[in-house]
């Protein structure tokens, strides 16, 4: 089966890691389920679904996007803002 199959639905896992390395610990996470089997929402779990990004790969998640490493703007080097190390994973499953 391919992702273009009309009967397939995407599940998305977003992991935020402690460093830019995929094998570093998870510090934040989100999940979205296109199969509608599960409804995820803010604050619904206090324990990460995987210890690291690598653990997610080993469970069959396919990485499709990672945040870039950008240089720090002059004068703004110490300003923190959004979570830095964001990794998007997906699985494709048949609609039940």
């Amino acid at each position: 089966m391919t992702a273009s199959d009309s009967n397939m639905r995407q599940q998305v896992l977003v992991l935020y890691l402690q460093t830019s390395s995929l094998d570093s610990p998870v510090v934040a996470w989100s999940q979205y389920d296109g199969t509608a089997e599960q409804l995820f929402m803010a604050g619904d779990s206090d324990k990460p679904p995987y210890a690291t990004g690598l653990h997610a790969l080993k469970q069959g998640w396919r990485l499709f996007q990672a945040s870039q490493l950008n240089p720090h703007n002059s004068g703004d080097e110490f300003q923190t803002a959004y979570l830095k190390y964001e990794f998007f994973f997906e699985k494709w499953l048949p609609q039940q």
Partner: protein, 306 residues
């Protein structure tokens, strides 16, 4: 009674962005507040209907932004009694001065499932967000979160992220983050007040109980330069630098430098150090001491000879 914040409380606020005062508001004030807003005998209603009834009743005063807090509430109003509670009054004056300005207030209600129509979309918790908008000031506002009744785990108490207050983000742009390691969910007894730095990330939880959940929020702004407003222990502030990296292993938890360099479990490895720097900058602002440092984080990068 002087209930101003002490150094440990102020450093905790600088590091974590909140202070929690459990059950400090007397029961008679909690009861008056709930009675005033019409929660004496709650009947299942609609969400819109319940809000409309409370707003029509005018028991929560209508106030325009910019009014002095001292003029915002009638003396007999429960909210006036709330801000006179010694611990609350002491914390307000320590953080935003004795004569702060009221930005706005709002009664947040988390409705139980029976208030929603059967065909309504599945209810969700509120996205995590930072209130107001991008705010680059050195000065800071505070937000009082008042919980007038017991909040159990299934009532969806406010969720917040300790140590997020210096992250400069744009309101709900952070909604993508569903869960963050170390997030807290408010579970408390009646009369609890939690004071947030304006930048603290938070969101309302999903109420799965059979009861309405109320939380009254008041945003306060300083009307003076926020410097040395708390019960400052000068000697502790002026303590000399402690050994860093190579140490004897002792680390008293209430040491000012230790509090300011205590990480949160969700910080990235590198931004953890930036958060220490931002905490030290905050402490310099509120102490007026531009040379203050904790564990050499700012001194090291200020050692320049251009």
């Amino acid at each position: 009674m002087n209930m101003a914040l002490n150094n440990t409380q102020m450093a905790t606020f600088a590091a974590r962005g909140f202070l929690r005062f459990d059950a400090v508001v007397p029961e008679e004030i909690n009861h008056q507040f709930l009675s005033d807003i019409g929660d004496v005998s709650p009947q299942p209603d609609t969400v819109k209907g319940h809000y409309a009834n409370i707003m029509r009743s005018s028991v929560v005063p209508l106030v325009s932004p910019g009014i002095k807090l001292s003029q915002a509430y009638p003396p007999s109003n429960a909210l006036n009694k709330l801000i006179q509670v010694p611990q609350v009054k002491g914390a307000i004056s320590s953080l935003v001065g004795v004569d702060p300005v009221l930005d706005h207030h709002f009664l947040h209600i988390a409705f139980p499932p029976n208030y929603w129509p059967e065909d309504a979309p599945a209810q969700r918790s509120q996205h995590t967000h930072q209130d107001s908008t991008i705010d680059p000031r050195a000065a800071f506002d505070i937000q009082l979160f008042y919980f007038p009744h017991d909040v159990t785990a299934n009532m969806g108490g406010t969720r917040f992220i300790p140590g997020s207050q210096y992250r400069r983000v744009s309101e709900a742009a952070i909604a993508r983050y569903q869960n963050i390691k170390g997030q807290q969910h408010v579970v408390c007894t009646a009369g609890t007040v939690i004071i947030f730095h304006m930048g603290l990330w938070h969101g309302g939880g999903l109420n799965k109980s059979e009861q309405l959940r109320y939380m009254f929020k008041i945003r306060l702004c300083p009307s003076e330069r926020q410097v040395r407003l708390w019960d400052m222990n000068e000697a502790e502030h002026a303590q000399s630098a402690r050994p860093i990296f190579w140490t004897d292993g002792s680390n008293p938890p209430d040491n000012l430098h230790a509090i300011l360099t205590n990480p949160e479990p969700w910080y990235e490895a590198d931004t953890e150090r930036l958060e220490y720097i931002n905490r030290v900058k905050f402490w310099r602002y509120i102490s007026g001491d531009k040379n203050f440092d904790a564990d050499y984080w700012l001194t090291r990068i200020e050692n320049d000879y251009v």
